[in-house]
Structures are given as C-alpha cells and as structure tokens.
C-alpha cells in the first residue's frame, strides 16, 4: 500500500477524491461506494494496484423492480473487495433495467469467472467482455432468469412465508395441484415437444469438439474428448468434468455444475429470517454446523446484537470440531481417490461418528443441526456434552491424528502421487479468489479468523498453517496442521468456557431486521464462506446470496490440471475439497 489508509470510511473518502465524477457513497442504508458503470474497470484496477484490494471475494446482483431503500429501480451489481486484513469494501454498480450490461472484471480478477456466469444465469445481467458467458447452474435453453423478482416458480403461492394456506389455520394444499401437469413443470405458450429438438449445445461439448479437431502437429497423439460425471465415484457427488485429452495429457478441463442446484437463494428470499438457518445446514453437508455461522453473523450485524461470551465460545467449539471433521473426511476421500478404496475413509468416518454424537447431544440432530440462533445458540452445552467434548479434544482426536500422520505423511506411495501434482502458484491462487487450505498451501497466510476476527477467535492462541509448494501434498500437510491447530483452540476453549447466558435477548420466530445490507463471512473448513443479505425491513430477506468457497475454488481447477495426466484429476479434485451442495446451492 502506498498510502496509509485505515478504515472503510477513509477509503471511501479517498476514492471520492481520486475519482470525483465516477465514485459516490452508496445511498443511506447501504455501505461502500456507487461506481459509474463505464468507469468500473478503471476504479477496480486502481483498487487492485494502488490500494491492495487484491481479492475480489463475491460478485452478485440484486434485483430492484421498484425503488427501495434509496436504490432506484435497477439491477444492482454488488462486488466485495478485501485487503489482507479488515472488512469488505462494497462496490455497487447500477445496471439498466431494460438492457442490463456491465463491464466484466474477469480480465482483472479471474475470481469473477464463475460468479459472473452465475449472475448471468440467474439474474440475466450481461457482463461485457466475459470470455465465456454461458449458463452455469441451469442449462442453455432454460426459459428465463429465475432469481429476478418477477419470475415465479410453478408452485408459487405467495411472495413470503408463512403462506396463508397453512398459517395460522389453513390446511396444506399439495403443491402439485398448482400445476396443470401435476408436476413442477411449465412451458412457454405455444411450445410443443412434438417438433422440438434440443437445438443448443445443452451439454457444452462444442468448444471441446472444436479443440479436439485441431491436432497439434508436434504431438501426434490423438485428441479425445472425455466426459467424467455427473455419475462418477470420484467426483464427490454430482460434479461433471469435461476433458479434452491428448494421449493421457489434459489439454482442457472444464468443471460443469448445477446438477444439485436446489434454488437455495430463491427459496431463501421467501423464508422468514429464522427459517433460513436449517437451509444453510444443507449447503455443505459435510460441515453443516459451521454453515450457519456466517448467516447468523450477517444478520446479527444488521440487528446490532452481540452474542454473550458463552455462546461465542460454544460457536467456536462447534466450528472447530466441524473443521476437524471436514479435514478428516477430506483426507479420507483423497485416500479413496488414490485407490486405497474405502480404508482411509473408514478411519475418518469412525471419528466422524464420535463428533456427530456430540452434535446430536447439543442440538438433537446428527447431521443437520439447526443449532445457531441470532444472538446465541439454541441450547446450552450440558455437563455430559462438555465431558464428551473434552474426551474428544484432549484424548481421542489427538491420537487419531498421530495415527493418520503415521500412515500418510511419509508414505512413499502417497508422496509419489502427490508431490509436485496440481501446483497452484500463489499469485494465481489470489487472482482466482481461492481461499482456505487451497490458498494457504500455496504459501499465502490468509485466514479470515485472523484477517477479520469474529466471535471469540481473538482470545485464542493458534497459528496459521501455510505450505510452500502449493501441490497436493502440501494441501494435505496444511489440512493436518490445521487439525492440530483446531485441537489447540478446542482445548483452550474448553478449559476457559465461561458461564452465563447463551442468548442475547429473547427467542423470536418472526423478527424484523432493519433495512440495509450486510456481508458476514467466516473461515469455513473449505475457505471463506460469505453470506450477503439485503433487508427491506421486513420479516423476510430481500436478497440472500451465498458466496460458497467450493464454487469459487473450483474456478482454478482447469488451470491447475492443465498438462497433467488424466489419472491425477481425481486427486487434484480431492485436494481442492468441494461439496456439491455448496457448489450448486
């Protein structure tokens, strides 16, 4: 940084002075700046090169059919930039309602690659200059852009829950009765399947076929287009990889997703604020507990409540157990994909069961805990639960970790497959917006727990584990190191667990959240998990967007697989560590 600029307010003032005709502060309940559409690239370049906002975390769009909260009717494209430390700089760009186009930031920040495609897919905002603006979660040919406010689902009942048909004394009506086909289907008027053929390249083969035809005269090997997934034992769910191969080497690899797109954000806008907490569990189902945290954090910021110390400690305990669980399972999957079959996984799943027992004890459910509340947690940790947590954190899990290391760390076969494979240089990792162990294994010590501390993380001693080479092996080492640090935090938290209440204020099912916007983020086990919410002061979110680490991290997959053997793809994928529920949302 060439000038010392501190808080966000200073940065806003500074930018206003620097670009007097392009930048103004965002209207009242909003934060950050409003940038003129045609100057966006210039301002973003300045942010990146002069002010060290190297990290474009989230790109999303909010639809305003009518003026709201001081925003005119527009499509508001929202960017969140971060420096190495501190909170976000929010950048708003207003796009025209008739023909929404904004310049693409992909040439500056490749991390926008997938996120801009998602915004085009779901909101219909064009990004001028995007190299590959196709649909990503839905398919080419889908009718409409579903996240727009005027797009109604087939089973549409009302704008907001609780629906009058059920509450307060209605009777549920089968959703199927709302559709003439008795199913979640609708076709444009006049359309008939009889003379219809899928015209567009629904499955995205065209660019690969094109590439396969141009053979390289220096490499006489044939080029082959290979489709992996969405049903494949090593894609960790329903991810699809489309690969062009030259012999066994990868010429082009493209992850394709959307096979688990469950319309989370659209449903989230209909739910009441509290009703979204159980939905967040279902995003990354490997670590359900920590998905709830950024959402409650974002809402708490708007509400202006602070959870009491005991609740903060309990949150940290749950988050760290989840991190341990996630990394254990992730290493297990790596073993799975290396060809050890299920053995490594079985060890991980054994520990998982113990941790799930603890979760069940505190929340009542094994997997989908629904445990966090705005201003605290739902139930207190009982003596029994604390005893189990202590037994795990002090005895059982350290033992497991030693055992795991004795099998993997110096294993020659593992090293032969992992060292030097899938190398991700640090500059590329930052440009692509990678977070979590993937970023830290490349040697960038960036961790939201330190960069923008939340809950009680400031109270604990722990190290940020970084790797050096950014290959599969270093990612493994970083995960193991983080598990050790998690145990360290857990031991401190359990030793110092304060007494007191677990909720600030009282529990309320239909709370109203003040108008405004807020971005809550935590260091989830897979990387930075962020929730961007906009409230219009009502009992439901106006906009509810999830910045999922798995989704953004996948953007770099094509780059780091280039030139590798096809057999390495599954290990590289396992080392990135994705969950499809979170990728597709």
């Amino acid at each position: 940084m060439n000038e010392s600029i501190g808080s966000t307010t200073d940065i806003v003032t500074h930018l206003q002075e620097r670009f007097p005709d392009a930048v103004q502060p965002a209207p009242a309940p909003y934060q950050g700046i409003l940038v003129a559409q045609d100057r966006l690239v210039e301002v973003a370049t300045y942010l990146r090169d002069e002010l060290d906002f190297a990290y474009l975390s989230s790109v999303t769009v909010v639809d305003y059919p009518q003026p709201l909260n001081g925003m005119p009717a527009c499509y508001d494209v929202v960017y969140h930039f971060f420096q190495g430390r501190g909170g976000p700089l929010t950048l708003h760009v207003q796009a025209d309602r008739e023909n929404p186009v904004v310049p693409s930031l992909v040439p500056l920040f490749p991390s926008a690659l997938f996120q801009e495609r998602e915004a085009w897919d779901l909101m219909g905002v064009r990004f001028d200059g995007h190299p590959d603006l196709r649909r990503i979660l839905l398919w080419e040919g889908f009718d409409g852009h579903p996240l727009r406010k005027d797009w109604k689902e087939v089973y549409y009942e009302e704008e907001h829950k609780p629906f009058g048909s059920r509450f307060p004394d209605g009777r549920p009506v089968p959703a199927e009765s709302r559709s003439p086909f008795g199913d979640n289907l609708r076709y444009p008027p006049g359309w008939s399947p009889r003379d219809w053929r899928p015209l567009v390249d629904v499955w995205g083969y065209a660019p690969h076929d094109e590439l396969a035809r141009q053979e390289d005269p220096n490499h006489p090997a044939d080029r082959v287009v290979l489709n992996m997934g969405p049903h494949h034992p090593s894609t960790h769910g329903v991810l699809r990889l489309l690969v062009t191969l030259e012999g066994e080497r990868i010429v082009k690899l493209e992850p394709m997703m959307g096979f688990l797109h469950r319309c989370h954000e659209k449903i989230g806008e209909r739910n009441v604020w509290l009703g979204n907490i159980p939905y967040t569990d279902r995003l990354d189902y490997v670590c359900a507990m920590s998905n709830e945290l950024p959402y409650v954090l974002a809402v708490e910021k708007l509400l202006g409540v602070e959870p009491p110390p005991r609740a903060q400690y309990i949150r940290v305990i749950m988050a760290e157990f989840t991190r341990f669980l996630n990394h254990a399972v992730s290493i297990g999957f790596t073993g799975n994909d290396l060809g050890i079959y299920f053995t490594a996984m079985l060890y991980a799943l054994e520990e998982r069961e113990h941790i799930l027992d603890l979760f069940e004890m505190v929340s009542g459910s094994r997997l989908m805990c629904n445990y966090m509340r705005f201003g605290g947690v739902a139930h207190d940790m009982s003596e029994e639960a604390i005893a189990l947590a202590r037994a795990l954190a002090f005895e059982r899990l350290p033992r497991y970790l030693d055992q795991l290391e004795s099998y993997f760390t110096d294993n020659e076969l593992f090293k032969a497959r992992a060292v030097g494979v899938g190398v991700l240089p640090p500059e590329m990792a930052v440009a692509y917006g990678c977070t979590g162990p993937l970023l830290r294994a490349s040697g960038v010590p960036y961790d939201v727990r330190r960069a923008e501390p939340y809950f009680a993380y400031d109270d604990f001693n722990f190290d940020i584990v970084v790797g050096q080479n950014g290959d599969v092996y270093d990612r493994y080492l970083v995960r193991v190191g983080e598990m050790r640090q998690s145990l360290r935090i857990l031991q401190q938290a359990l030793n110092r667990l304060p007494d007191g209440p677990i909720m600030a204020g009282r529990k309320s099912a239909t709370l109203k959240v003040p108008a405004g916007e807020s971005y809550g983020r935590i260091e989830a086990p897979k990387g930075e998990l962020g929730f961007y919410i906009v409230s219009d002061g009502g009992p439901n979110p106006y906009r509810y967007h999830i910045r999922a680490p798995s989704f953004v991290n996948l953007g770099v997959m094509g780059e780091i697989c280039w030139g590798h053997l096809i057999a390495d793809v599954v290990i590289i994928l396992a080392s990135i560590d994705i969950t499809l529920g979170e990728v597709d949302r």
């Binding site: 839905l138 398919w139 889908f142 006049g190 049903h231 494949h232 688990l260 998982r352």
Partner: protein
C-alpha cells in the same frame, strides 16, 4: 404333514444330511437378498448419511451388502439419496434403465420422496416416483442410518415374498420397457406428457391472441 411337503421326493438314505431339499423360491430369494449390491451413487446430503451408514458403526455387511458398485450394470438396488434436480434427472433415469432386472429402488429422504424442503425450487423434481417405480420410501431429512437399514430390511422382506413364477422378468416374451429419458428444453421435457402439453397449448394460445 402339509400337502406340499408330501410332494417332495424321497432322499436316498446314503445322502441324508448331505442333500437338503427346499423350494426354489426360498433358496433363490435368500441368495438374492443376501447379495444386494447398491449402485454407488451420491446426489445430496442424504448421500453423506448413506456413506456414514455404510461405514464401520452401522456395518451393513451384516446384511451382505457392503459392496457398492460404481457401474449400474453390476447393481441391483438404487438408493436415491438426495434431491433430484431437473438437470440430474436424465442421468438418473438413464442409470436406472442400465441396471439389469430384477432391480429395486429405495428412496431416501424427503427430497427424493417429494422435493422435501426444496420442493418449490424451479430446478427440483418433486418426487422421483413420478419417473421411476419405487419400492421403499425412507422418510427423514436426512433419515438416520437406522432408518436406512430398516428400509433395506423392508426390501429384503419384499424380496422374500416374490416368486419366480410371477416375476415379470422371468416370463416369456415380456421385455421390460426402458423409461423414456427426459430432455432439457425450456423446462424439463417429459416425453410422456407430449399430448397433454399440446392439448394445454391449444387452450392457452387462443386466449392469448384475443
């Protein structure tokens, strides 16, 4: 003595204790149900609970089924473990068509039964039973492992009641029809609905012209 037992042939005295006689259905169904191989197939959160079920604590090898096959050609049980989206449905139907008969479908979790918490989603199929024949439903979000095991035992019970004489895939001349694979158009295109869609469009179009 029951009339059935009387019809069984006499075992020569030197083979008593070595040779046993049992109805073919009983032994055949016993063998089938003790080697039920599910397709390795993960759709959503329920899949993760299924993986948990197939690990050491709940140990389904007690029921002869710890092996999951990645290929549908080697599997005889399909566990639909999670939300089926419109984008995924063509693949699911194709996989089902590729499984050899006799085959069973176990539906795990609210999502696959009806769409569950995501029912109103624009990309969610509201119930896989609209497309595939389902044998057992296991409700829950996600069902506990015990629930899944109960579902599997229910399939075992169903298998036990089946007889070679009336199972359709052993009858002469009857080839089970594959299920038409839906396509992705403006929405999911279910070919079985062609006529209904056309009839609907005739109703809709004139009113829009007016």
């Amino acid at each position: 003595m029951s009339p059935r037992k009387r019809q069984l042939p006499e075992i020569p005295p030197e083979l008593v204790g070595t040779v046993h006689i049992t109805p073919i259905d009983a032994i055949y169904n016993w063998a089938r149900k003790r080697s039920l191989w599910p397709i390795f197939f993960g759709l959503a959160c329920c899949a993760f609970e299924m993986i948990g079920t197939f690990a050491a604590r709940f140990d389904p090898s007690r029921f002869g089924m710890e092996i999951m096959r990645a290929s549908p050609r080697q599997a005889d049980l399909m566990i639909i473990n999670g939300t089926v989206t419109k984008k995924m449905l063509p693949q699911v139907v194709r996989l089902y068509n590729q499984m050899p008969e006799p085959k069973y479908v176990l539906v795990m979790g609210a999502c696959a039964i009806s769409g569950g918490p995501f029912q109103e989603g624009y990309n969610v199929v509201s119930g896989i039973d609209k497309y595939l024949p389902v044998d057992v439903y296991v409700p829950g979000c996600p069902p506990r492992p015990e629930g899944l095991i109960h579902g599997i035992l229910t399939i075992h019970a169903k298998m036990e009641r089946e007889s070679l004489r009336n199972l359709r895939w052993y009858k002469k001349g009857e080839v089970p029809e594959p299920i038409p694979v839906p396509e992705l158009g403006p929405d999911l295109v279910d070919w079985r609905l062609t006529e209904k869609i056309e009839a609907m469009q005739e109703e809709v179009v004139p009113s829009q012209v007016e």
